[in-house]
Amino acid sequence: MKIPNRLLNNDYLPYFNKNPKRLFLLSLLLVVFFPIVVDNNYILHILIVAGIYLILAVSLNIVTGLTGELDLGHAAFFGIGAYTFSLFVIKVYNNFWLGLIIAATVSLLFGILLGIPSLRIKGDYLAIVTLGFSEIVRYVLLNWQNVTNGPMGIHKIPLPTLFGYKLDTKLALFYLIFIIVIITIVLIQRLSRSRFGRALVAIRENEIAAIAMGINASYYKVWSFAISAVFAGIAGSLFACYMSYINPMNFTSNVSILILCMVVLGGQGSILGSVLGALVLMLLPEFLRFLSMYRMLLYGIVLITMMIFKPNGMLPEKRIPVRRAGRYSTAGISQSNNKDSRLLKRDDTVELLSIINICKYFSGLKAVDDVSFMVNKGETVSIIGPNGAGKTTLFNIISGYYNPTKGKKIFNSQDITNMPAYKVAEIGIARTFQNIRLFSNLTVIENVMISFHTKLKSTVIHSLLDSPKTQKEELWCYDAAVELLKKVNLDNKYIEIAKNLSYGEQKRLEIARALASSPELLLLDEPTAGMTAQEAMELVKFINSLKSSGITVILIEHNMRVVMDISDKIVVLDHGVKIAEGKAHDIQSDERVIEAYLGRREKHA
């Protein structure tokens, strides 16, 4: 398991990448000593504001970088946090920490509210919804006179008190705010490396595949908005108590766009990138001050030039999972998660999956029409049929992407007819796709680690605290991924980016990914398509080995050699209707099958 140096060392910061703790300590030292050495209130002011924007940028990166949703409304949560905090400490109870918690909670609720449209609205349309949301918030702040005091804003927001001491110097506020900044960065960095963060990048890379890995995409999307909002709300509180005066002009969509620029300039998905992006964009105008009137002009030119020459940002995202052999052994984890035991009970008289009178109509087109068949435990079943026969549609129904128009499906004597796709994956049905759906910009190993999603139990809180449970799980997950990659002969490629693999390797990776959840039933959609004869034969061997370990396989396949070789049973579809079912040699001689493939024989009188 030797990792090439070229991949571990980024071209930048090579020194720190070997040991991220060094970077952390260095920044800690800077934060502690810089203000004492410099001792200049103006510089401190600039740095404090930069620190607050740093929180905003890092938190926006959760939605925009990890989940990959363009968010043009982050300033709304900044404003909601600031106003909630100010109103609470002025009107209800003057306590900094309580105000912070209340502000974070209110932001969280609004974050969930904004997350909900993301389930239906996608891409650029969602971007404009976030922008609209922040404009609405701003107009409410501006016009709800008797609460927000309208355009006049809120004055005299009290300074925080800590253990009876009022923090009334810039230096004290600087330390308070930077402690929170550092905690935020550490927490979000942990989050991005955790099960939660992996789920988010999986959704970004390929939402359908993420769902096939058992990730509840809707849930994670909403939570990514919510968590991002919490930190923005905290930033808002800090801003309010530092400035002691806020008004709606502090939270315009220009601010949202500035924060987005920080994230993109730094590198989407890269937490350190956001830190750098925020610092550069906040400090650049100060350094350009000598240009006076021309400085914003230059600022714009810098943005354009950066995007032309560094389109992925200054510190592009590089997610290379690291095996953290910490204090904890993985004992216990693999055992408790091991579903393999039930697979050993191979019994081909017990039925695993029943498809009963399944129909799927697309406004008049009968893609699948009244198809029924049964699959027993441990069997290998092939579904064949000419193009457009409804094979993939049937797969999409079995795996829960489509709800059938009519009919029922039973898995392990449980009715799963209307079960959502991520649940279907969770209960033990895994699949691959006809046109490969990898998480293409992630490493091979992370592709597999993502697919262990349903086997890991760490919640967001565990990940944020980096609890022993999380550390154990992460270690287990890493080792199990390496193990699985060995099985499909990809163990020498595990930190390669998935899209750089050859076609056959990508297919194998997809199968490895499907196997990660230890499924009872594996659906393979044209596994040998595009493979050489050699590769196809290796795959057949591999499928046979799955079979002997007790996994039930249904495959769609056009390569008849493969089909005849490995199937216990063959189901033939044509125009959405099942025309035959049976053993290989029965199918080969079936009149209707021959007709479907070759056409009707002319009868000569």
Binding site: L70, V129, L142, Q268, Y294, M296, L297, G300, I301, N435
Partner: protein, 290 residues
């Protein structure tokens, strides 16, 4: 009252539609949210102002010069800023557009100052009264000119050979180039067309409101973007209707509900529309094939 609001809404809405078409053209052909398009609109107003008020040129000549210069400006921006990031990530294209917007705004501020300028009143304003409905000749001109421009665009895109090339490029630029279409030229032309429409809108609004300022492009850019999304961005007739609908909604809300919450409600309605029709009223449904 209702009729009055509808008339005002139509005039403003048709200007939104003109600007929104620039968004739709850029989006259709490059998949780019051209945040800097509002600045072309602003530049249109300022260049016309310079020609008429500072250089004392003939009014119509000034308008023609403005449209030509803005068309060239749009092409130039595409060439130096958007072409290099054409194959980049969507977000880096967006940031580039924001950068362009900042640059153009600051160029305008440095050239013409940050105070607002009176736009020369080259068309004498006449007010017509029909019982209790008031219409100015300017509103009528704005509506008629916008409709003529949109009809011209429609003709260009759907009837002319160049329009076929533009539509082919926006469907699939690789395949279009295999069919012998010069993609770079088509994209330049599309940006020029969008910019001409934006500049025309700038002149019309300058005439209507009498006053122009260097950052006037921002809010109308935002509104036009909303209009384009509302109609279904990339869809030309949809965008035209989106602009008109947005103008009407705003005007009705201002007249009957609240002027303060006019913009907020416009955004709220947009969000509700998108929740019902996630790709805009006339947008095509995106189906991801599995």
């Amino acid at each position: 009252m209702l009729f009055q609001q509808l008339l005002n809404g139509l005039a403003v809405g048709s200007v939104y539609a003109l600007v929104a078409l620039g968004y739709t053209l850029a989006y259709g052909i490059l998949g780019l949210i051209n945040f800097s398009h509002g600045e072309i609109y602003m530049m249109g107003a300022f260049i016309a102002f310079t020609c008429i008020a500072m250089l004392n040129l003939n009014v119509w000549l000034s308008f023609i010069i403005t449209l030509v210069l803005c068309g060239l400006l749009g092409t130039f921006v595409e060439l130096v800023a958007f072409r290099p990031v054409r194959h980049g990530a969507r977000s880096s294209q967006l940031i580039t557009a924001i950068g362009v917007s900042i640059v153009l705004q600051n160029v305008a501020m440095l050239t013409w100052g940050s105070a607002s300028k009176p736009f020369p009143q080259v068309i004498a304003t006449n007010i017509y009264k029909f019982s209790n409905v008031v219409v100015s000749n300017l509103e009528i001109y704005i509506f008629i000119i916008s409709v003529i421009l949109m009809a011209t665009l429609y003709f260009l895109i759907y009837k002319l050979r160049i329009g076929v090339a533009i539509r082919a490029t926006s469907q699939d630029s690789d395949t279009a180039s295999l069919m012998g279409i010069n993609i770079n030229r088509i994209i330049s032309i599309t940006f020029a067309v969008g910019s001409v429409l934006g500049a025309a809108a700038g002149i019309l609004m300058g005439l209507y409101y009498n006053s122009i300022v260097f950052n006037m492009g921002y809010s109308i850019g935002l509104k036009a973007f909303v209009a384009a999304i509302l109609g279904g961005i990339g869809n030309i007739p949809g965008t035209m209707l989106g602009g008109l609908i947005l103008g009407l909604v705003e005007s009705l809300v201002a007249g009957f509900i609240s002027t303060q919450y006019k913009d907020a409600l416009a955004f709220l309605i947009m969000i509700i529309v998108l929740l019902i029709k996630p790709t805009g009223i006339f947008g095509s449904k995106e189906v991801e094939k599995m």
